[in-house]
Amino acid sequence: MSLIPEANDARPLIEVHNLWVRYQMRYLSMDAVRGVSFSLGREKLAIVGESGSGKSTVGRALLRLLSENARITADEMRFADVDLLKASERKMQKVRGARISMILQDPKYSLNPVITVGEQIAEAYRVHFKVGRKDARQRTLQMLEAVKIRSPERVYDLYPHQVSGGMGQRVMIAMMLIAEPDVIIADEPTSALDVTVRLQVLAILDDLVRERGIGLIFISHDLNLVRSFCDRVLIMYGGQVMETIAAKDLDNVQHPYSRGLLNSLPSLDMRRDILPVLNRDPEWMKLKEENA
């Protein structure tokens, strides 16, 4: 019995309606996500926005991986047949990793420092598939190769502190992919990578969407990258989705915040002496009518 719709099923993999996340601090509380709604099909969906706009919080809320002081409410938050709001912690553990994987912003902190990276990936594989050590090792080496690690045999035996930032990021990606999830949430997965490696890692994710029909949520602040890599884009500000747009139409966005984000990036296609900066309008913070 599979909970997962077939790859040719057109129903969305993930559906979110009116998601709110409140962080409770000692003296005050803060709504980091305010009324976010979206659905994810077998596509590459980007979430972009400035630092602090709530991108990572949305990603982590889907897996209920937020810190203890966070409170999630929503009208709906579902993955295939799983109600992500009501599912028991035991059920969520099955979803995490096996069905929805998250590639985190800081890979170093998510690897166990006293186990070699190869063993960690192999272990992740054995949790999801009933195979022996030898097969797990074989599959791990294949995965390391798939994420463009040059000498997989050597890297297998390295500890996390012995790999560079970019390599650590690729190890994380290998670990996420080996479980063959249906949805991948990638939080700034390529910011620590060299451009040439970045392109290859993106191609791996791209293939998974095209060939295996997975859904990808790609969190980033690099609009130039998102424009060429993703299908659709959610643009976030102050915990709200300001607009949702097809990536190919990104150049035509109208909202001044979206324009500001786009224009403030230096570009290799256009020479400008002065880069426009964001002039934040208090209006943007106001709760949108549909979210109130």
């Binding site: 990036l265 880069l275 964001l278």
Partner: protein, 257 residues
Amino acid sequence: MIEVNNLELSFGEGAGSQQVLCDISFAVGKNEVFGLVGESGCGKSTVLRCIAGLYDHWTGAISVDGRPIGKTLEKSHFRQIQMVFQDPYGSLHPKHTINATLSAPLKIHKVDGIDRRISGILDQVGLPLSCRFRYPHQLSGGQRQRVAIARALILNPKLLLLDEPTSALDVSVQAEILNLLAEIRRERELSYVMVSHDLAVISHLCDRLAVMRQGRIEEILDRDTMLTGQMKGEYTRTLYDASRRYDRTVAQALAGS
């Protein structure tokens, strides 16, 4: 303004020694911005550290304003050349107010008019005077990087060495800092050597740039040659293609190579 000739550097000794810089040569004119770009570990920061006098075991020649610099740090050299680092969190002392951070170099070099200079420099880098007696943790990332730039400028250097000055910042804050650097350069007639792994950032600010790979300079070209895609080197083109956008065929070509 600065001339680097045949700079070489290795770490470690004997069989375990690793050559990190190999035959690095370039010259930067007065009021010119020169960029070093390349992938992680290619030696960009190491070049800056040699110029800044943080290493003394290099070979080759470095001269500033026509005067060769020795391998030990002289005070006058230190004053002409200032460095700004990537991390605006790590590079400021957490327990020192902005005022203390900015007055320390003035005191070391026995410069007078400290008060006037500090308010002048805060104004120039676009920080409100109210920041003066705050601590780094009370400032935003962009404001901290402004403080680091103010500290570098306060002794009126001739050359600023900028190591990834915006890579820890949000895109809009990055734009503010890049604009600030462009403005300071116009007003003060400074020269910069700037390092980044981001080709778009380097091509935005720099008049000319060197593309580095594995400790060597692969190509030196000017900005317009880069922006119009007329580079000669194959590696420069690879970086350019990979930086511009996601492109499956480029990715496949890389994977096959």
